[in-house]
């Protein structure tokens, strides 16, 4: 089966404010999807809901992830099943070292699949290998999770974690923001290195420059909690040129 994620008429709210108002999205293995859209339209909310953030309440619809009911799983189990979210704003966790954090993550996944904890030497080797993919400084690995990391370092750290966990579906929420030009290339190349015919990536971004590196197969526009337009890679270029007004006008007019 080629279908990896199927989201059908997904609604989600925070308090009594509805933010996702019927999302439909199908992602197949091997594909890269880009989700674009104006600020506040619900892109991060969609990624948070898929990852299981309890801040949001799902009020309708479904999400199937390689055949299983995604919305029924605890966030940690979604991770074990192969979902990864690169956060728009990675969280600082003072006092929890990167090493302990990653060891806990790796071994939790192994436990989920009835495997024994990873031997220490193997784990350290894994860390070294994966750090190299995004050229993450060894010094950062010995610090507390994201604590005092620069914006760019945090984003590199997200992709490092993705490399370690080897997800089949990665959602990258504005992983390009805060990255300088060199870092953008390193991070994007890292993502490309991790690409296989079996996994898929959803890239949330405002800018074409990331899509120059990570080439999307499908581009969606999310606006006011709905995917209002879907096209090929050329759509991103068109948005770069024309902005969102034309699509906003069109949608808002239809609503009248």
């Amino acid at each position: 089966m080629n279908e990896l994620l199927k989201v059908t008429d997904l609604h989600a709210s925070i308090g009594d404010k509805e933010i996702l108002k019927g999302i439909n999205l199908t992602v197949n293995r091997g594909e890269v999807h880009a989700i674009m859209g104006p600020n506040g339209s619900g892109k991060s909310t969609l990624s948070a809901v898929l990852a299981g953030n309890p801040t949001f309440t799902v009020t309708g619809g479904s999400a199937t992830f390689h055949g299983i009911d995604l919305l029924d799983l605890a966030p940690e189990d979604r991770s074990h099943e192969g979902l990864f979210l690169s956060f728009q704003y990675p969280v600082e966790i003072p006092g929890v070292s990167m090493v302990n954090f990653m060891r806990a993550a790796v071994n939790a996944k192994r436990k989920y699949f009835n495997q024994p904890p990873m031997p220490a030497t193997e784990f350290l080797k894994l860390m070294r290998e994966k750090r190299a993919i995004v050229e993450l400084d060894n010094k950062l690995a010995s610090r507390s999770v994201n604590e005092g990391f620069s914006g760019g370092e945090k984003k590199r750290n997200e992709i490092f974690q993705m490399a370690v966990l080897e997800p089949c579906l990665s959602i990258l929420d504005e992983t390009d923001s805060g990255l300088d030009i060199d870092a953008l290339r390193v991070v994007a190349e890292g993502v490309n290195k991790l690409k296989t015919p079996d996994n898929a990536t959803i890239v949330i971004t405002h800018y074409q420059r990331l899509l120059d590196y990570i080439k999307p197969d499908v581009v969606h526009i999310l606006y006011k909690g709905r995917i209002v337009y879907t096209g090929g890679p050329e759509l991103a270029l068109e948005l770069e040129e024309k902005g969102y007004d034309w699509i906003k006008n069109q949608v808002d007019k239809e609503a009248e």
């Binding site: 299981g52 309890p54 979604r78 991770s79 074990h80 969280v91 006092g95 929890v96 993550a105």
Partner: protein, 445 residues
């Protein structure tokens, strides 16, 4: 109200037996303590300084006392497993108030150092003990006066001038009783001029099914230029109550670090009263409380600066789960005689469940202009954003919670200056937060 009376009555009827089981130096203070208790009550909940804990209630049950000093059955050997790696040779066990040295302790105690039964010390070195016994503890506290009235024995640690004890001295205190009982224990730690030592006390209970109460008064006398570290770890049971009062006198340029760590308990009240009597002192007070179930943990601190150019640091942290309750009342007092004081106090707490409660009351009493002082208290929850972030990486929620609690407590663990003790404490905290029941025999390397 009125719990005190039964103990006074007991004393009146048993005074000869009490004296007979103790030593003159200790017996001499009993009438003084009795006088101090005239017209007094043990503090009840809500009394100033006792907002959340009733000492009266703690002492209200009709506890027996082992005045005849029968050797109660106790698997002392089991307690010996409570070894801090590489430093266990200076180990003693105290069963209730009875001091049990180990063979290696007797062999390894360095010259100029006494680690022994307080009553024995009072008999063998009466002048030395009389100089210090009761010199720091205040009979104005009804709890301390009662302890002084009833205490027959305990621990005496004395280090001569300029002697530096390299290894930590570890004392395992055990409550062991087949029937509900009050243990009255006294600890006296003296570092003469220029001496240094480190003490680890591990407080355990061997009688988890029997309600028991411990009244413990600790006196610490830090001579000029001395250095004292004391780390006190309580790992008892929900059936146990403990009223622990620690009094410290710091003479000039002394350096004292005290850690009070409550990992497992029933009802505990710890008081720390530090008197900085000499100039140029350093004082560190660290406290940790990990509560679950119905644990009740109350810490009260008072650091009083009475001489110039001294610094004090207080850090207390609580993590309270389930229905556990915590209380912290802490004060810094700077007298007019103490210019150029630096004094800091911080109390930070996490409520990990809806049923947990924390009461906190920091206080500054400053009667001097040339001081740097700060205090702060915060009570919050575990960081939801961090929890979700960890879960999204596959770390199960419970494990993520535990990791965050450990991270929170790391700061208090780090206040312990003796590496071997610090490492052991870190291990115990990890185990405790992981939900393992703390037990002495787990405390093995």
């Amino acid at each position: 109200m009125g719990a005190l009376k039964q103990y006074i009555d007991l004393y009146m009827s048993q005074r000869e037996a009490i004296d007979a089981g103790s030593a003159d130096v200790m017996n001499t203070l009993r009438p003084v303590a009795l006088k101090a208790l005239e017209g007094r009550e043990l503090p009840d909940r809500g009394v100033e300084g006792f907002e959340k804990t009733s000492i009266d209630e703690m002492f209200a049950p009709d506890y027996g006392m082992n005045i005849g000093r029968l050797a109660l059955p106790c698997d002392v050997a089991a307690a010996f497993k409570c070894g801090v790696p590489n430093v266990s040779s200076l180990l003693a066990v105290v069963v209730n108030d009875r001091f049990v040295p180990t063979a290696t302790l007797l062999k390894n105690v360095p010259a100029g150092v006494r680690v022994m039964s307080l009553a024995d010390a009072a008999r063998q070195y009466p002048d030395e003990v009389a100089r210090h016994y009761g010199s720091a503890a205040s009979l104005e506290s009804a709890g301390t006066a009662l302890n002084t009235l009833l205490a027959q024995d305990g621990i005496y640690i004395h280090v001569d001038r300029n002697i530096k004890v390299e290894r930590p001295i570890q004392i395992v205190t055990l409550t062991s009783t087949p029937v509900p009982m009050l243990t009255t224990r006294r600890i006296l730690i003296v570092a003469e001029e220029g001496a240094s030592l480190s003490v680890l006390t591990c407080d355990h209970s061997m009688s988890r099914d029997t309600a028991a109460l411990t009244s413990q008064v600790v006196e610490i006398i830090a001579g000029e230029r001395s250095r004292i570290d004391l780390c006190d770890i309580e790992e008892t049971h929900d059936t146990q109550s403990r009223y622990n009062q620690t009094y410290v006198i710091q003479h000039a340029e002394s350096n004292v670090a005290i850690g009070g760590m409550t990992l497992q308990n029933g009802t505990t009240r710890n008081e720390y009263r530090v008197n900085i009597a000499g100039r140029g002192c350093e004082c560190h007070l660290g406290g940790m409380a990990i509560g679950s179930g119905h644990q009740h943990i109350d810490n009260s601190s008072d650091v009083k600066h009475c001489a110039p150019h001294s610094t004090s640091h207080q850090l207390f942290k609580y993590v309270l789960d389930d229905e556990s309750h915590g209380a912290f009342e802490g004060s810094i007092e700077v007298t007019p005689e103490a210019p150029f004081t630096e004094a800091y106090q911080s109390d930070r707490n996490i409520l990990a469940s809806r049923g947990a409660r924390m009461h906190t009351k920091p206080q500054l009493l400053i009667y001097n202009d040339d001081v740097k002082c700060s205090h702060g208290a915060t009570t919050g929850q575990l960081d939801d954003k961090a929890l979700f972030y960890m879960q999204s990486r596959g770390i199960p929620r419970d494990e993520a919670r535990m990791m965050l609690m450990q991270a929170f407590m790391a700061e208090v663990v780090d206040t312990v200056r003796v590496e071997a003790v610090r490492d052991r404490l870190r291990h115990l905290v990890e185990r405790r937060l992981a939900g393992y029941e703390a037990h002495c025999s787990d405390c093995k390397a």
